[in-house]
């Protein structure tokens, strides 16, 4: 029996594709030139970047290659987009975002709130969906930018960003989407949308860490975050991370070729995994909008046990996943995404995310389906909220601590 470790944490990061690595290697050695240089050393690298830019453009369906701005990561792209919208439209001081964004957006918004900006955080229902009427009501003449993620990193739930961008434009606001989870997993055709800015991160789609993209629609009013040299047409100064950009180009090309595979074969494995676990484990349920989510993501809430303990036991069984539990982040609150969806505390601490990639196999999924039920049973056996046959009656009353 093969018991190599099984990687089901691809929403955290992905393995670099071997073709990506081999395309990058020359740029650490003979192709070391600065793409801005006039001589042949620089020139060759410059052409390689141009080629990579075209591949990113193709995957995103951008109209012009100059709409692709290379950055260092998704977080940089997010910060650039939001701060640019505020700088470029000083007469507008409101940001509309959602309660389930990545910290790259939420922490920045918290900071901007302290600086005096008005932040509107749209809530979600128990399936993680937005209320479009609430969104329409929030839009106004003071809205500088709307930032909503294309797909949620924890539950995989997809937001109607194309429709949201139309509405933002109608209100004269810019629209940004953090699409680091969506790019490469679902088809995107930006030229057919009103989206002004989009963030992507290389390491989520089998490119290396340390490279990202800000898509910037031609004509969108913009102020750079980093000023300096003329790189990226002055929109993001700093010498290009040439090797990683080349790698990202190859990764985008592959993602485009694998798009159908991702939405059929990978999706089927995900569904098989989820169904296999749900069929065997009592008192657990999938979170998010299961009818409208990323094809690779399954987030299952196991009631009355805690996520970090689940992860440690999974890890011992050679399975890598992640959790929305408070303990895995070092904070005392469980995931803000699960809380926004109103998942009760009895389940939120036990949410476990399995995120697949095109490298996962049928036999790996079978091993996970076999490994999970005993782990859950083992932890429930020592949980004060779980009795002989199931959860204790009214867990919050049965277990009455001196403080809560």
């Amino acid at each position: 029996m093969n018991d190599a470790p099984i990687y089901l944490d691809n929403n955290a990061t992905t393995a670099c594709d071997p073709a990506v690595v081999s395309a990058m290697l020359p740029f650490f050695t003979e192709q070391f030139g600065n793409p801005s240089s006039m001589h042949s050393f620089g020139n060759k690298v410059g052409f390689a970047l141009k080629e990579a830019r075209a591949k990113v453009q193709a995957l995103l369906g951008a109209e012009h290659d100059s709409e692709i701005v290379f950055t260092s990561c998704g977080t940089e792209s997010d910060s650039t987009a939001i701060l640019s919208a505020l700088k470029a439209q000083p007469e507008r001081n409101q940001i509309i975002t959602t309660a389930v964004e990545h910290p790259a957006i939420l922490t920045l918004c918290e900071y901007l709130e302290k600086e005096g900006y008005a932040i509107t955080r749209l809530g979600v229902d128990k399936r993680g969906r937005l209320d479009m009427d609430e969104y329409k009501a929030a839009l106004g003449p003071r809205t500088a930018i709307v930032s909503a993620m294309w797909a949620n990193n924890e539950s995989g739930t997809i937001f109607p960003v194309e429709q949201m961008a139309e509405l933002a434009h109608a209100a004269g606001a810019q629209f940004h989407t953090d699409a680091v989870q969506a790019v490469g997993k679902i088809a995107i055709d930006l030229k057919k949308t009103k989206i002004d800015m989009l963030s992507l991160s290389g390491h989520k789609l089998h490119a290396p860490k340390g490279v990202g993209v800000l898509y910037l629609r031609r004509g969108t009013r913009y102020r750079p975050l980093l000023r300096g040299g003329h790189q990226e047409r002055g929109r993001r100064a700093g010498t290009e991370n040439a090797a990683s950009i080349v790698g990202l180009g190859v990764a985008c090309e592959q993602a485009q070729q694998q798009m159908a595979f991702e939405n059929t074969a990978v999706k089927r494995l995900r569904d098989r995994l989820e169904a296999g676990i749900l069929a065997q484990v009592p008192r657990c349920f999938p979170t998010g909008d299961v009818t409208n989510r990323l094809p690779n993501t399954s987030n299952i809430a196991f009631e009355f046990i805690e996520g970090e303990a689940i992860l440690l036991l999974l890890n011992k069984a050679g399975i890598a996943a992640s959790s929305g539990s408070a303990c895995t982040s070092g904070s005392l609150e469980p995931s803000h995404v699960m809380r926004a969806m109103g998942i009760p505390y009895t389940a939120a601490h036990g949410t476990t995310r399995f995120s697949l990639s095109r490298y996962n196999t049928e036999s790996e999924i079978d091993r996970v389906i076999a490994a999970v039920p005993p782990i859950i049973a083992q932890l429930r056996k020592i949980s004060p909220y779980w009795g002989e046959k199931g959860p204790v009656e009214k867990p919050e009353d049965a277990f009455a601590p001196a403080y809560a």
Binding site: F304, I305, E306, G307, E308, A309, L312, L313, K316, S325, A326, C327, T328, G330, S331, L332, P334, Y345, T346, H349, K381, I382, S383, P384, Y385, P395, E396, F399, A400, P401, A402, Y403, A404
Partner: protein, 298 residues
């Protein structure tokens, strides 16, 4: 991934005394499912000797919560209740070869469950006003609630003072933004609170909290400084270090760190800790400086 010791891993993967304990006559419940940590400690106590014959636990929580519970039951088995009550959360952490700072609350919870279980056995009511906030200083495991309380009670206004009083921010300094936010929050409250008018807003710490302390003569003051430093020396010597007082000039006290303390990463933190002790002992604000600064500081 947390940096868990082998001992923590071992107690998590093979917890001792897990599950319901039949015939338990002392049960302590602490934590809640909301916080993500809940522990039920069950004791079987021999009524004649008050010895803990058996101990069991049920825990809802992370790896270190389960390991801390397991360790606790192993530590207290065979002890009398009075002996068991002497077990501190640090004892639990030490038994496990240490816990990451973010996880120290797991050992605190263990100790609280023990107190609750003993109270339950004795027919007493155990009440704890325990409150825990977000962890601000990771070097010394100081949380927001504690910092806020200390800032409020002592009318602190600078990050430096917070470090003197709580140690928070005295290590790697990366939490200073968080401490500044707490200071700003408390100072804003103090400005808007209706009682602000009756409350003196001190210009310095010296005039604030410890102001009630009786004024010492110069001689008493020097003696006090000496006594305080002497009391700390054995601790430093245990780590193969030492300290000597070189000069006392107003609020500046100049010292030499010796032995292992020299060039130690925690030198600044050590000085901060000793300074806190001196501030407490003297009832006035003093600065502890390396002797090399003699004649340079204002």
């Amino acid at each position: 991934m947390w940096d868990y010791s082998e001992k923590v891993r071992e107690h998590f993967f093979n917890p001792r005394n897990a599950g319901l304990l039949d015939g338990a006559n002392g049960v302590g419940d602490v934590g809640s499912i909301k916080c993500g940590d809940a522990l039920r400690l069950m004791l079987k106590v021999d009524p004649d000797s008050e010895k803990i014959v058996e101990a069991g636990f049920q825990t809802f929580g992370c790896g270190s919560a389960i390991a801390s519970s397991s360790a606790l039951t192993e530590i207290i088995k065979g002890k009398t209740l009075d002996e068991a009550l002497k077990v501190s959360n640090q004892d639990i952490a030490d038994y496990l070869d240490g816990l990451p700072p973010e996880k120290m609350h797991c050992s605190v919870m263990g100790r609280e469950a023990l107190q609750a279980a003993v109270a339950n056995y004795r027919g007493e009511v155990w009440k704890d006003d325990h409150e825990e906030g977000a962890l601000i200083c990771k070097c010394f495991a100081v949380d927001a609630v504690l910092i806020e309380e200390v800032v409020r009670v002592n009318s602190l206004t600078t990050v430096e003072q917070v470090a003197h009083f709580t140690k928070a921010g005295g290590g790697c300094a990366s939490c200073h933004e968080g401490i500044e936010e707490i200071l700003a929050k408390v100072s804003k409250e103090a400005c808007t609170a209706p009682t602000a008018a009756t409350k003196p807003t001190p210009a310095s710490v010296a005039a604030a909290a410890p102001a009630a302390a009786p004024k010492l003569t110069n001689f008493q003051r020097i003696r006090k400084i000496e006594e305080t430093v002497e009391a700390i020396r054995p601790m430093l010597q245990r780590d193969h270090g030492d300290i000597e007082i070189v000069e006392i000039d107003g609020k500046n006290i100049y010292v030499n760190l010796k032995g292992a303390c020299v060039g130690c990463m925690m030198e600044a933190a050590t000085l901060n800790g000793i300074q806190t002790k001196l501030v407490e002992a003297l009832g006035e604000f003093v600065r502890l400086l390396p002797a090399a600064m003699l004649g340079k500081a204002q």
